[in-house]
């Protein structure tokens, strides 16, 4: 039986107490996050190159991480989802499905660029001013994104081009996530129900300008150093 109970205060005080040790091994981070941006002009020449630490994962990314740790069910015998999935991600406690079928969950991620700025909060769920996909005024053309996995690292890559006729300035970047529940509904129709979240949010130390005709690549890298 799994239980959710109060942690004794004396334990909790110690759990939340900052580390006092200054031991290199103990302070080794298990995950490092980076954002890399490379900007090219219309001729393909690199005109800007950035690399900075990603600082701001949201509670939604933490909730996503709870799936491989806590699972999706609240106990071995329960028929309801974990509290984090229902309370934080607002997923259904129990998906209604067609006779004798079942439901499953998967997720995907993508990078979104923006031209605004805002203060970070773990509950932030969108960019301040997202730059939409297209070739019109104020838009960037988003190419298909890719994800690589190498040596315990997950790297999301986005390439954009600017066909808008004017320079576009990028000042914020987010890792967007969509969690899907797949099932057949009561009418026996295949359904994929999406739930959208912001998994990370960062602003660039100084805005990145992409000239008309230029392109840029953006990477968000999460490394599990193991």
């Amino acid at each position: 039986m799994l239980v959710s109970e109060q942690i004794p205060k004396e334990d909790l005080d110690y759990i939340l107490e900052p580390f006092k040790e200054d031991n290199k091994e103990d302070n080794k981070q298990i995950i490092s996050e980076k954002i890399i941006a490379i900007v090219r002009d219309a001729k393909g020449n690199i005109i800007d190159k950035r690399e900075q630490k990603m600082k701001s994962l949201t509670q939604y990314y933490l909730a996503l991480m709870s799936i491989p740790i806590l699972g999706t069910y609240s106990s071995p015998t329960s028929t309801t989802a974990t509290s984090i999935l229902t309370n934080v991600l607002d997923l259904p406690s129990r998906q209604s499905v067609y006779n004798n079928y079942s439901a499953d969950i998967i997720f995907d991620t993508s990078i979104q660029l923006g031209s605004g700025t805002q203060s970070f909060s773990p509950t932030l769920n969108s960019l301040a001013s997202p730059i939409s996909n297209g070739s019109g005024t104020g838009q960037l053309y988003y190419y298909s994104q890719s994800v690589l996995y190498t040596s315990n690292s997950i790297s999301q890559l986005l390439i954009v081009s600017n066909n808008s006729g004017n320079t576009i300035t990028v000042s914020e970047i987010g890792l967007m996530g969509t969690i899907y529940i797949e099932y057949y509904n009561s009418s026996n129709v295949y359904t994929q129900q999406p739930y959208n979240f912001l998994f990370s949010y960062d602003t660039f130390s100084s805005p990145i300008s992409i000239p008309n005709g230029g392109s840029a690549s953006f990477q968000i890298i999460i490394t599990f150093s193991g």
Partner: protein, 234 residues
């Protein structure tokens, strides 16, 4: 098309960062902490221990890869169970596509945390670990610890920009001798399937592993509570 060969070069030369510990000005975002509180037979705290938690396993990574990775590479992920058997997983977003089982009103395939398991061994390659090196079994016999039920969070706690959740489990030593804990892991009962309940793959998988920097010894009658704290922006 404006994206040409030079951008292709960027794609094919994706930069993987150096270990972040070399960056002294790094403001961490994600962290995991392992805390152990030891109590005597009367419940009095006699030892507190805490260390950074370092080691998601390959099983964990496979569950954290987004759909795009599976779609663009065409690869599947191989999970290794605690019994050293394997099964593959390739999620797809389509009719009869595969994913991790989710609660529903017809057929449930419970995917849930089983234990924070403790052991008396040590693994030199946590990423490839599929079980603890020397698991301590549940019981009151020689070399055993009595495992309590695992405690799971009801939500994520937010404190300013920080967000975290804590899982915990307690272990009592009624074996008659001293037991030393030197490794800790998290075991998930994983079930992957498609939405018409075909080809269900099931296994108990180790998703997290830590060797303790300093092993914890429990004398007969003592107990320990292990807390894993997963946090962002701490």
């Amino acid at each position: 098309m404006l994206v040409g060969s030079k951008v292709d070069y960027d794609i094919s030369n994706l930069y993987i960062p150096k270990d972040v510990k070399e960056d002294i000005d790094y403001q961490k975002s994600f962290s995991a902490t392992l805390t152990i509180i030891v109590r005597d037979k009367d419940g009095k705290v006699i030892k507190k221990y805490k260390q950074k938690s370092h080691s998601p396993t390959a099983n964990f990574i496979g569950l954290m890869l987004p759909l795009t990775w599976y779609n663009t590479t065409g690869n599947s992920w191989t999970f290794t169970t605690t019994s050293n058997t394997t099964f593959t997983y390739q999620p797809t977003l389509k009719a009869n596509g595969y994913g991790v089982a989710y609660p529903n009103n017809q057929n449930d395939y419970n995917t849930y945390i089983i234990n924070i398991i403790v052991g008396s061994g040590s693994s030199s390659n946590p990423y490839n670990a599929y079980n603890l090196n020397a698991p301590i079994s549940n019981g009151s016999g020689t070399g055993q610890l009595l495992y309590s039920s695992i405690s799971t969070p009801t939500s994520i706690t937010i404190n300013g920009s920080q967000a975290y959740f804590i899982i915990s489990q307690s272990y009592a030593n009624q074996s008659g001798g001293t037991i030393t804990i030197s490794e800790v892991g998290i075991i998930l009962n994983l079930q992957t399937e498609n939405s018409i309940s075909e080809n269900i793959n099931t296994g108990q998988v180790l998703v997290w592993y830590d060797a303790l920097s300093s092993p914890i010894s429990l004398s007969n009658g003592q107990s320990a509570t292990i807390y894993y704290t997963f946090s962002v922006n701490a």
